[in-house]
Structure formats: structure tokens, C-alpha cells
Symmetry: C2
Subunit: 388 residues, 2 copies
């Protein structure tokens, strides 16, 4: 079997719908010409609707990590006090970027698998400061936990109202409920290869008027990731550096598909596939990493049992056409992760569960045939209000 | 007419061959999986043959400007003395990046349209130092001039042998003769949307062992553009951040096409199209910007005559299906540029000349019908040794 056509169940790059894929084969255009301006303006307008914001949204040609770097260097100065709330590898990365560029970073780390607790964030904010920014992760891909961003943001607004709220929403935005403006989030980063269902290469960053004020006096060195330069160019229908044009053509089509489905239904679908994955894995005896109260609807992590040889197991999954992700950072070799965001349906998850069942049975483990497929389907239908 | 299918004659993004375009529609793969490692390893091995190097070549997901930033921040420390040899907007940009990150930059600027003079580079090197690095542009896209990099590098080796030679070869590498190792170039940057005939989104950077020694002690802040992190990941068949996978699938096919044609024939083709454009434009009365001795074979710039309304003229070109580029920086509104690199043939240039002729005739200017088409064809055949 061609593994390139497998059931790609990693938390990004995500599988791409055919119509979107095909747009990646578009011929090039002049990125300083009028057609490009129309394309970018249309994309930005629609990104804003999914961001639920009136703020500027800028397109940066880079992986999500580049978007995170732009969210640091564009608004901060060396020495600025920053509280980095981290619940996993990507929260740690966000903190590290700020540290590398000279911010005075206080890291508030929570146990991996847990969400950030608003009360402890409050304590940390009260214990230090004055805070220039608070960094948070909406959906921590390494631990499959979704933070209560609204609650956390309220605490920041209460205790440190002058601090910029800077959110890594790379692996959740466009898939789970998120309110940039209502939650008063200043800078929100996302990435093309996640919920947006297109190839990697673009990062999106929303910027509030308050954040632009900070940008005007920000002193961290920056060039490629200078969002103010991106804003100036975007106002002229351009980008400061040559953009990943083919990925933008894909995004144009993907946003059409997302608009057709509607944000509310997209979120319902992700809730259903999330519930399906968790129920299916649990029915097979896997222990989930995430605190159930904050389990992500875009990615699920499960502990690898001590008596299961991961390489053998994963080799069987691959052979049967299922590609999952391993652990990251401190969890490398300890967990595996199933991505379920973007172009994913409940039947895609049943496919994955069927493969997991068969691989376990092939390894001689006691599995009731059909148990995971059924559990997943029941959970999905319950999530959709179609079963009790 | 669909302008997306026009004769795209800008110096990048360049027109993409069909087989390459279609590879941009590839389904996603796990960028931490074995298929990706095979893909990246194969791409890197072939990039090295076109770079003419045994040095490491790393793939960065960014526009060429991001590659330039990686070439500065990965190897230098604030306060390092850097000689920035500039002959146009991109040389200025390279100098600016080094300045932004705190290098002690001495700018040696030459008149736009001229190449850098080795004797003046020698004087500048002798007048200052000790030099940590010398920045140069192989092919200055803004002025359509190709620098004598070999001569310039010899001067650096002679006067400042410890200085790293860092070359922006974004718009020339893979199209004109270039010898990374023979010319002893430490860091060489290129970009996917130029001679490589693929979509924008990837930059390539070669790094010498000497440059890696510098990297080990380099203190400029960096995260996304840290080439040492890219090297560590590449050795494991990965990239540090999610790569622009679809563009890599395109590059895989484009490198096949480039290998089939062969570097020598690719360079001959670019010499022929370069000669054709210069002869055609000259026959129409346009004055070229570049010193003829150093005219680029990948892009040509011509002054806009004072009695020619550029907007009207360019509107006609667009209507007739030809997309050219305007001027950059100080040359904005003063010149136009025709790109001729990557997927370009002599007939493509004759197409462009036919459109230029017709547009001028439509504007009532005195043009002998067929003059530019013939001049271009004759020049191309002469360049190929098929006419006298």
C-alpha cells in the first residue's frame, strides 16, 4: 500500500481535502500584482471570521513556530517581564523563544496532562510583575490538553490588565470554540497545516490595537518576523517577503469549505471525533494522558502500556494504513498521539479504531472484536445528541 | 484571458512546469516519519550537486529573506565586524539584517547597475577589520547585475582569510555557473521560487565546516532561523519545525527535471534567454540598467522612457498576457524588470518580445514590426553558437 495515502492521524500536517490539495498545483502569480492582493484580502477577511476578531490578521510564511517568534519579537523588548504559562512542550517552546530574545521570563509550569489552573495563574501574576505579557497555549499538542483560555484571560485582565495576552492557538483555532475579541486576546497565532486543512508553510497572527501600541516601542531585534512590516505590506495587498503562494491558493479553497460547513458545525464535528477517539482508546484499555475535564478535541494522547512494544505495534499500524504520532519532549517513547483536526470525520476515526483493534489482536492481546469501533461510534453519536 | 495563465516574466515566483505544479497537490505525510526522511535526504543530496558543494545544505521553511536572516544570526555575534558589499536593494537588505541583530556593519555600496569592484572591496577590507564576515550578493535582483563572486571571494581570502564569506545567491544559483566549494564560500543562500522552478516557501543554505565553528560561539539571538538546530534535525531525517511539505514534493520533481537537463545545459539556456532579452529590449529602444559586462542572465532591468506612461504600458502588457516586474527600492517607478530564470525557454522570451512590440505599437510608438522578436532570436542563437 502507498503509505502516502494512509489514514494520516497526526496532529498536523493534517490530511487535505482533494479540492484543497489540487489548488496546491496552481500556477504561480505575481505576488506584487492585483490578483494576489485580491487573494490575500479575501483570505484575511475570512480568517478574521474564524478568529472571531476585528483585529488585524497577518499571514507569515513560516511554520507555526515562526508565528510564535513573530508574536514575541514584534511586541516585546529585552528585559520585559513575561509570565509563560506552560502545560507541555509547546508552552515550553513559547517560553524559550521569549527567553532567547531577552525577556525576563517567569515560567509557570503545570503537570503534563493537566490544564493551567486560573487560581495558580492569579497567584503567579500577583507574586511578580509588572507584567508586559502573558503567554498561553490554547491547545497543547504535546499533551492533548485544551486550556480554559477564557478563564485564564479573565484572570490576567483582573490582576494585570496592562499585560498583553499572547496565545498559541496553532492546533486548536478553527476547530474548537474560540473568541479572540470577546476574550480580549491581544495576539493569537495559528498555523495552516492544522484545522485549516492546508499544507504547512503559513502562520497566521491576529494583533489587537493595544499590541500595535506595544509594537511601536518594542526593541527585540527582528526582521523577517516583524509583524509591523507585514501590516504595512498587507495594507498594500502584499507581503513584505515572497509568500508561500501555493499554500495560499489552497487556503483560499479550504476557507470556502469551512464557510460552507460553518464554524458551529465544525466545532460539533471536532467534539464528536474527540469523544470517539477517547472512547475507542479507553475501550481498548489505553489510559489517556489528558485530564478528562480538559481533553482536547483535536488530538488525543495515550500512554503506551509497559508490556506493549511500541515499535512493533506502530509498524503494524503503518502496515494497516494508519499513521499516528509519537510523544514529544519528556513524553517521547511514553505516549502515542492520534490527531483529529481539520479534514476528519467520525468514519475516519472508526477506520483508525479498526486498525488499532486488528493490530492489538495480531499481537495476541485480548480485545473483543469491534469493541473500539462501537465505543467510538456510540460516543460520537452521543456527542452529536443522537444517542443517549 | 485568465491572467493566472499569463507569461509570468518576473524574477520569482517563476513559472512552474506542469509536473512540478501537480506535485504541489500531493497529500500530506508525517513529517516525522520515514517517507519524509527519504524525501528530504534525496532533495539535500541533489541540492548539493547544484550548489557544487560537499558542505551541509539545510532546508528552511521561509522566503529567501528568511534564509538570509538564518545566514546572519546562526554565525555572528553582536559587535562582529561585517563588511556588507551591496549593489542594490537586496544587498542593502542583507546589510540591514546584520545591523538589526547588532553586527558592526560597514556598508560598501556600488552604483546601482554596476557590479562590485574587487579592488574597492580589497581597499575596504584593508581599511578596517578584523572582519568576521563579508556579505555579498551573487545576483542582485533589483538591478539585474551578477557580481563576479569568484573574484570577490579571492580578494577576501587574500586580505581577510578568517572572514566568513556569506553569499545571497537566491536569484542565480541553479541558473548560472556557481562553485560553492571551489570559490571557498562559507554560507550560500538560495530560494525555491527562483531557478529551482517550484513555489515559494523554502530557502536553502549551505554551511561550511568553518561556518559551523563560528556557529558554535555565535551569540545573536535566534530560534526559528537557528541553522544548527536544522542540522541536528536533518541528521535525523527531520526538520526542527514543520516544513513546507507540499513545496518539498514539488522540489523533488523539479530536481529530477534539472538533473535530466544537466547543470551545464541549464546555464547555457539561461545565457541564451538572457542574451535574447537584452537584444530584444535594446532593439525596441529601451536602455538597460545593468553594466553590460555584468548583466544578469536571470533578470533584466530597463529604464522606463520619460515619455512612456508606465501604468498604461503595463496595463497593455497585462492585457496581452505578459506579467513583468516593476522597480524596487530607489528604482521604483523608474525601471521595469523581466525575469528569465527557472522554467523559461527562448520561445517564452519571443512571446514576451512580441507582446512588448505590440503594446508599443498600440501606443503609437515607432517600432519596426518583428524587430524585437528577431533580435532576441538572433541573440539566443548566437549565444548557443548556432549563428554568427
Amino acid at each position: 500500500m502507498n503509505r502516502f495515502e494512509a489514514n494520516l492521524r497526526i496532529p498536523g500536517p493534517t490530511s487535505i481535502p482533494d479540492a484543497v490539495r489540487e489548488a496546491g498545483a496552481h500556477q504561480m502569480v505575481n505576488h506584487r500584482g492585483p490578483e494576489f492582493a485580491v487573494l490575500q484580502n479575501s483570505i484575511i477577511a475570512r480568517l478574521k471570521t474564524f478568529y472571531r476578531t476585528e483585529n488585524d490578521v497577518l499571514i507569515v510564511t513560516a511554520a507555526g513556530t515562526g508565528g510564535l517568534e513573530s508574536a514575541i519579537v514584534s511586541f516585546l523588548s529585552p528585559g520585559d517581564r513575561v509570565l509563560a504559562v506552560t502545560i507541555g512542550a509547546f508552552g515550553d517552546r513559547f517560553a524559550k523563544i521569549a527567553t532567547v530574545y531577552g525577556a525576563d521570563v517567569t515560567k509557570l509550569a503545570f503537570e503534563w496532562g493537566k490544564a493551567a489552573e486560573p487560581a495558580r495563574v492569579r497567584e503567579a501574576l500577583q507574586a511578580g510583575g509588572p507584567w508586559k505579557a502573558v503567554l498561553m497555549t490554547q491547545n497543547e499538542t504535546s499533551t492533548a490538553v485544551t486550556n480554559p483560555i477564557h478563564e485564564l484571560a479573565k484572570v490576567v485582565k483582573d490582576v494585570a490588565p496592562d499585560a498583553l495576552i499572547v496565545v498559541d492557538a496553532i492546533s486548536g483555532l478553527g476547530a474548537v470554540p474560540f473568541e479572540t475579541d470577546d476574550w480580549k486576546l491581544d495576539v493569537v497565532v495559528s498555523g495552516s497545516q492544522k484545522a485549516w486543512m492546508v499544507a504547512p508553510g503559513l502562520s497566521f497572527v491576529s494583533v489587537s490595537p493595544r499590541a500595535w501600541e506595544a509594537a511601536a516601542v518594542a526593541k527585540m531585534p527582528k526582521f523577517y518576523f516583524d509583524l509591523a512590516a507585514h501590516k504595512t505590506s498587507a495594507e498594500a495587498g502584499q507581503t513584505p517577503w515572497t509568500p508561500a503562494v501555493a499554500v495560499m491558493f489552497q487556503l483560499d479553497v479550504a476557507l470556502d469549505l469551512m464557510e460552507q460547513e460553518g464554524l458551529e458545525d465544525i466545532c460539533k464535528r471536532h467534539a464528536a471525533v474527540g469523544a470517539a477517539v477517547r472512547a475507542g482508546l479507553t475501550s481498548l484499555g489505553f489510559k489517556l494522558l489528558a485530564d478528562p475535564a480538559y481533553a482536547s478535541n483535536t488530538v488525543t494522547g495515550a500512554w503506551i502500556p509497559e508490556d506493549l512494544d511500541w515499535k512493533t505495534f506502530n509498524g503494524k499500524l503503518r502496515k494497516l494504513g494508519l499513521i499516528v504520532a509519537g510523544g514529544q519532549g519528556a513524553l517521547k517513547g511514553k505516549i502515542f498521539r492520534i490527531g483529529h483536526l481539520g479534514h476528519v470525520t467520525v468514519p475516519d476515526i472508526l477506520n483508525a479504531m479498526a486498525v488499532l483493534e486488528q493490530a492489538l489482536i495480531e499481537l495476541g492481546r485480548p480485545v473483543t472484536p469491534g469493541v473500539a469501533v462501537q465505543a467510538a461510534q456510540v460516543a460520537a453519536l452521543k456527542s452529536l445528541g443522537l444517542a443517549k
